[in-house]
């Protein structure tokens, strides 16, 4: 590192401008290169090889596009592609945006501030989000248990059903259950981000709209929603990317079952690499996932820039 003790101030800037900034950012850039850039390139190389988990030391055999042909030709991939994009991502992102906005509007009511309930309200909203995902799945597995779960006990007590439903084991309820767990855990992020954005809207805007004779609905659609648009755009991008690549909810709730009914790309990738020990094919699933995410990000930014 360049020492700062020098008696000639005029010489200092020239020397420091070159060596110091690189020295400062270098460690972080090396870690990012080692963790992200290197493995991303290696992953593409792996996708063209036949390589067992047990032969990692020896290296694999180049097989061209065989892994891609196999992965893309497998009907199970079609199912996990649909599961990942639609059932896991599109549905839960849409539900989170709608419920998150509704919750934020409710909590933005001035009474919570006037009655000094802000702290209590924020704590309660944040509870699902401070729960680690593993705990969230454990809590819901217990709630949804066929014999002892609260949900089934309430349904039986109310006379709606005679026998407990094993929600996570039946094909017609399993996706609803997974979506419920995911939305429950991840809704607070959306709600508190929207709430913060709502609170940054000046109150005199609302008073001005009222004086001009705008109804509450008009104020919401003509003033609030346009002001929230940038936040909604960012939240949609972030939650879509996080959810599309999510592994933990499906893995812990069902392991992709019953059968491979709830398999998503992330669990398929893990299963191929670490349960079937086929690293090359697993890497190919990873490449397919990155291509889809890249295409999504590209379309997203194209739309965003066209509007600007």
């Amino acid at each position: 590192m360049v020492s700062a003790t020098t008696d000639v101030p005029a010489r200092r800037p020239a020397r420091r401008r070159t060596a110091t900034p690189f020295g400062l950012v270098l460690p972080a850039m090396l870690i990012l290169a080692f963790f992200f850039v290197g493995p991303a390139i290696y992953n593409v190389a792996l996708a063209f090889q036949e390589l067992s988990l047990f032969d990692l030391g020896k290296g694999g055999e180049w097989v061209g596009l065989a892994n891609f042909a196999e992965v893309l030709g497998d009907p199970a991939t079609g199912r996990s592609l649909y599961n990942t994009t639609f059932l896991l991502t599109v549905v839960t992102v849409a539900v989170r945006l709608a419920l998150g906005l509704a919750l934020a509007l409710l909590l933005n009511a001035s009474v919570f501030r006037r009655w000094r309930l802000g702290w209590l309200v924020r704590s309660l909203v944040l509870i699902p989000w401070v729960t680690p995902p593993v705990v969230a799945v454990a809590a819901w597995k217990w709630l949804l248990d066929a014999r002892y779960g609260v949900v089934n006990q309430l349904l039986i007590a109310s006379g709606l059903i005679d026998q407990g439903i094993p929600f996570l084991a039946k094909t017609d309820t399993v996706w609803g259950a997974i979506q419920t767990i995911l939305v429950w855990r991840e809704l607070p992020f959306v709600a508190i981000t929207f709430l913060a954005a709502l609170q940054s809207i000046p109150t005199d805007l609302r008073d001005a709209a009222r004086i001009d004779g705008a109804s509450a609905v008009q104020f919401f659609t003509r003033v609030v929603l346009p002001l929230l648009r940038p936040v909604i755009a960012v939240v949609t991008l972030l939650t879509t990317i996080w959810t599309f690549n999510n592994f933990v909810y499906v893995w812990l709730a069902t392991r992709g079952g019953p059968g491979d009914y709830t398999q998503v790309l992330a669990t398929q990738m893990y299963t191929t690499s670490f349960v079937d020990y086929r690293m090359g094919a697993g890497a190919a699933v990873g490449v397919v996932m990155s291509v889809i995410m890249f295409a999504f990000a590209l379309i997203y930014f194209l739309i965003l820039f066209r509007e600007k």
């Binding site: 990692l56 593993v134 217990w142 690499s273």
Partner: protein, 282 residues
Amino acid sequence: MASAKARSRRFAADLAVVAIGLTVLILFAFPFIWVVVISFRHDADIFTRTFQLITRFTTENYAALIADSPFPNYLRNSIFVCLTATFAATCIALVTAYGFSRYRRFRGRQLLLILVITTQLFPFVILITPLYAIFLNLGLINNFLSLIVSYIAINLPFAIYMLLGYLDTIPRELDEAARMDGATVLQTIFKVILPVAWPGVVTVAVYAFVSAWDEFLFALTLMTSEEKKTVPVGLAGFFGEYTTQWNLVMTASVISTLPTLVLFIVLQRKLVSDLAAGSVKQ
């Protein structure tokens, strides 16, 4: 007199909003509240067919979990890995953000900043297969170093980005004065900038810690031996496919949530507003 009437009507409306709001929120928080309730319940009372809120109170589940389960070891592992990774990620991010904030014109700055932002959005989960292969060849499977490096790398992009925004608001005169007095760059960062930037540093450290504490896939893949397991993977083992010990699961769940719960209850206003500021800025 009309104002008294208007006031009572307003009070009724307020009361209705608060009642609806709190009902919705308590229902929303119920799954976790239920976990806490069950963790203080006797073994025999867990498997009753009727849904009851109040039964006998006991701490025997906690005693059993600490005395005869591997959970204390998972806790030790998680605390060590997460604290080390958080400390390292925060220090490295502070130094990096200082470099980006104070030196505006070095060659490659723009390119490196783009690298930081893309890695922040990059789905690192996809990299688990190549990273396993790399760490295996380095002999680092079942070595905490691989997990710590992973958690540092996962948290660096957000931490750098967030601290860069923070440091840009701190006047340059402050560090220029320190440099005039003969302080080195690192002394300036840790003795002059850190005391001023600590609110941002705390936020970054908390988010880094929480994301490491919650992380599942890397811990599952890189730490395969029983004695190296972290809390999330160990807890998932408790409700594995064949044996489900629900009282242990619920008690361990409460303990696993405690660190993040305490951090967010104490620092919630600050953490929420910093996060929102970050999202809006992007």
